[in-house]
Subunit: 198 residues, 2 copies
């Protein structure tokens, strides 16, 4: 059997990244090889450094290098509203809208019997504890509209309802700028049911 | 000024890679953070390892971890035909066609007055030396059809012509499977001039 060369190993490793196919991995590898050595080392160091230093905010379970993340430590944020998201990567997406000034709570997944993910595997207990402290008045469920997210939404709503707080979710409807004819029927029917007066 | 966190630094570093925009870099960074630490370390090691071990084949200037690359060392390859390419990353593209069984010669660029790249910055002298040894009967110029590549093609042909070897280049024409109406007029006129009998 032919020995795997360092370049082939690099291409293999790069192709394990999401949305990086074999061809892109090859292109990236050749780009890295053409760089000065210190640039390759610096890229490698930033990978190890980010991964080693990262842990979870003890309040919201976002990634954080300290006990609490920047958002939880920011006194200008509204501590009475908490948005529940599936994963830390959802947070920059929401932040980029500038529409939300509350805190977050990262579940680290959604309930999925098929993947063997039960409520105990998620940060749901910690969510209940946070809400139980009395400061939170509204929980926004910031999950998408997949079947698993829907099941998780229902599960969490049932747990939170008795605590007497407001529970909301994203409006579902036609995306901005999208042509009606391309909307699927479920989105369309949700848009009709959720219609607003103008 | 806000301090750059390790995660932001990783995103910055990843966005310097070709075809990786800010959003993709963010997605890749979050993927790396969600991996077990040993996988992140292994990716980083493969980057440093590939870059540190790589040097150039002393015959064709392809990337190689040894004195001569796999292709130059392969006794089944036809040593009388040499294909000139701009960069090592062109070699796997040509190899994937299974159409070429000769050796390569990597120029590491093309002549570009704008970028200040002159013939002396390329591996042209080494090409002349290789051809001068007498084993090579045909040189295929495997460059694309950009203005700079054309200039380089003309320059190299003039140098090689007196050595009495055959100099060829890629056929230019309509790409396989492409609709005629989408071909630009230069490609189309090259296809007409280079027409073949059927």
């Amino acid at each position: 059997m032919k020995e795997v060369t360092p370049v082939e190993r690099l291409i293999d490793q790069l192709s394990t990244l999401p949305s990086i196919g074999r061809k892109t991995a090859q292109r990236l590898a050749y780009f890295i090889l053409a760089q000065p050595e210190e640039r390759a080392v610096s890229l490698a160091e930033s990978i190890v450094n980010a991964r080693k230093k990262i842990s979870f905010c003890e309040n919201c379970f976002n990634y954080s290098e300290r006990e609490f993340c920047d958002i939880c430590e920011n006194n200008n944020r509204d501590r009475s509203v908490v948005m529940i998201v599936e994963s830390p990567k959802d947070i920059p997406v929401i932040e980029s809208t500038n529409e939300f000034n509350g805190l977050y709570h990262v579940l680290h997944g959604v309930i999925s019997p098929l993947k063997g993910i039960s409520p105990d595997d998620l940060r749901i207990r910690e969510l209940i504890n946070r809400v139980g402290k009395g400061e939170i008045e509204e929980v926004i469920i910031g999950l998408d509209f997949s079947v698993e997210s829907e099941a998780t939404t229902i599960y969490i709503s049932r747990l939170l309802k008795p605590l007497g707080i407001s529970i909301t979710r994203f409006a579902s409807g036609i995306p901005a700028g999208a042509a009606l004819e391309y909307a699927d029927s479920m989105t369309l029917s949700q848009a009709i049911r959720g219609r607003i007066e103008i």
